[in-house]
């Protein structure tokens, strides 16, 4: 019998998911308004996964994220202001404006970075897990990745190595149905979870839009990994509501890779709304939910204001940041 999250835990999940949602809705608007210099890949519709997995981690645990990484950053405790300023290319950004949306990272919080290379996080997370094992500490490392990344060869390599060496690694596949602009069914053979099973890694396939299901599966997976028994694998089925990136219409030039009706269908399974309904059904008052909404609204506004008012990035900084203590 899986543990049920307490009401406070559910509320915390909800608040964090809503934070991710509202931050990204603002990013969507600001991207459309031409205020952001680079590409923005939104996580809308997948918030339950990052949030509920990270809810099961401690501050010293490590995660690797993807190009769709705002959710993981915020879920692991990244600062909304520093993230927003980063995406606005400001020197107060978490990476001083050198990384941008695709590379938000906070090493002090175990966030080893979003990653612009699809599948780029597998081996980094595996290496972090190796270090945790060799240094005899209790850290667990989590690799978030999509179904697209599961088709990279390094995925197989890391399944092999982590299982062989019983590394404290949790692999979380966010199966959002798309590899950039290609539906997963057109480019993926068999079930992704079966690939992990082939390496004798405990594997579970869950509804990734159900925060409680993710929370339960992640709890077991993290516990398994932390116990020294080796890696665990979660395939969370979800759906990418937004395009591969904002302004994708410019790239598609009228081309089409999915039906609007499919998007609408998945909107009915929105993870934030589902959790809200659950909270309401369990007796949480509308006023309490409104208070959360208001709090997050202020957080988002503060983050945008901070980003807008911050100094632009230092354009000379790259010369000092190619190396530690060595100018390029």
């Amino acid at each position: 019998m899986a543990t049920e999250p307490s009401k406070d835990q559910l509320l915390a999940l909800y608040e964090r998911m809503l934070l991710i949602r509202r931050m990204e809705e603002r990013l969507r608007a600001d991207a459309a308004a031409g205020k952001l210099p680079g590409a923005v890949h939104l996580y809308i519709g997948q918030e339950a996964i990052a949030t509920a997995v990270c809810a099961r981690l401690g501050p010293n645990d490590l995660i690797t994220s993807t190009h769709r990484g705002h959710g993981h950053f915020l879920a692991k405790g990244g600062d909304p202001k520093a993230m927003m300023a980063e995406i606005w290319a400001k020197r107060t950004g978490i990476c001083q404006g050198m990384g941008g949306s695709m590379h938000v990272a906070d090493f002090s919080k175990g966030i080893l970075g979003a990653n612009g290379i699809v599948g780029g996080g597998f081996a980094i997370a595996t290496g972090a897990a190796l270090a945790a094992k060799l240094l005899h500490d209790t850290r667990v490392s989590v690799a978030f990745f999509g179904d697209g990344a599961a088709n990279q060869g390094v995925f197989m390599e890391c399944l092999n190595v982590s299982s062989l060496w019983k590394l404290p690694l949790v692999l979380v596949c966010e199966h959002n149905q798309f590899s950039e602009f290609t539906p997963s069914v057109q480019c993926t053979s068999g079930e992704i979870a079966d690939r992990a099973r082939a390496f004798k890694i405990p594997t579970t396939v869950i509804d990734g839009n159900d925060a409680v299901a993710v929370w339960q599966a992640a709890g077991e997976a993290v516990e398994h990994a932390r116990s020294g028994a080796g890696p665990a694998f979660i395939e969370a089925r979800t759906y990418r509501i937004q395009g591969h990136l904002e302004a994708e219409a410019l790239f598609l030039q009228g081309g089409k890779y999915r039906e609007q009706s499919e998007i609408e269908e998945w909107r009915q399974r929105d993870p934030v709304e589902r959790l809200q309904q659950r909270l309401t059904a369990s007796g949480v008052k509308g006023a309490d939910l409104q208070a959360i909404e208001a709090r997050i609204g202020r957080t988002v506004e503060d983050a945008v204001k901070f980003a807008e008012e911050s100094e632009p990035a230092n354009p000379e900084l790259p010369f000092d940041l190619m190396f530690v203590g060595q100018r390029a």
């Binding site: 990384g99 970075g113 990653n115 290379i117 780029g120 081996a123 270090a131 240094l135 890391c158």
Partner: protein, 323 residues
Amino acid sequence: MARKRYTHAINEALIEEMSRDPKVIVYGEDVELAIMGDTRGLLDKFGRERIRNTPICEATLTGMAVGAAAAGCRVIVHMMFSNFIYTGFDAIANQMAKLHLMTGGQAVMPITIIAAYGGGGSNAAQHSDSGYPVLVNLGGVNVAMPATPADAKGLLKTAIRGNNPTFFMEAIGRGGELGEVPDGDYTVPFGKAATVREGKHVTLIAIGSMLKPTLEAAKKLEAAGIEAEVIDPRTLVPLDEEALVAAARKTGRVVVVDEARDRCSCASHIAAVLADKAFGHLKAPIKRVTVPNVCMPYAPNAEKLMIPDADRIARTATESARA
């Protein structure tokens, strides 16, 4: 001082640094049995927690280095042959070379990657590349090119103690060669070229494995009355431009010797730097002695033709000195 082999000097550096810092780990394909010689004895001394064989999966080996470094280890990855860098290139080029910048200085990557390069053993095209020019072009990795046992030991220690990703390129044909190695703990700084021989007629800049044939060439030149200055940059990143420019100005005649393919070789880069910064002092065109733009052939006679040797270096230097 004691005379030691190149491989032995590398092995000593590994043992000393692993003894010095418990966070130093080594992994790679067949490192436990020390197939390349340099990791001999480490397993007995340090156990599998510190040195371990890996599967053959270079993409993961290089990527794991990034993660293990981020999580607190000092990582040494043995890539065996430098050609295998190519199969592990994503984490090198896209992650470790860029993360310090991309994260605004948060990511610190104490990673040393050891790889043996060069031809001469009929290992054919997939085991004979001198793959360092591409590394030099990445920007965010240091590249050390030890030519002697003493520099091998000292540069490797600097690499392991440093906080930047560093490629330590072993000259494959030099493993058994002997040289004087200082006693006790010492390091060789990055970015400091060595003047190996003084001369006033022509400056020979020899990279890594090319130092030996260049010194042989200098002897031949001496017999012909040409005094060659021989400079070893020792690291390509950082590059001691100041020393190279000074040496170029001193004689006004420069030959750069590199075991890389000519096109975009490190010799090309050094020639470009010198053309820029020593132009007014040059008395002859800067010459490059490199591997032609071909893959390394298997047949010994064909391979020999491709790798710069003392005769080719001396011939080019003579042309330069008389130009």
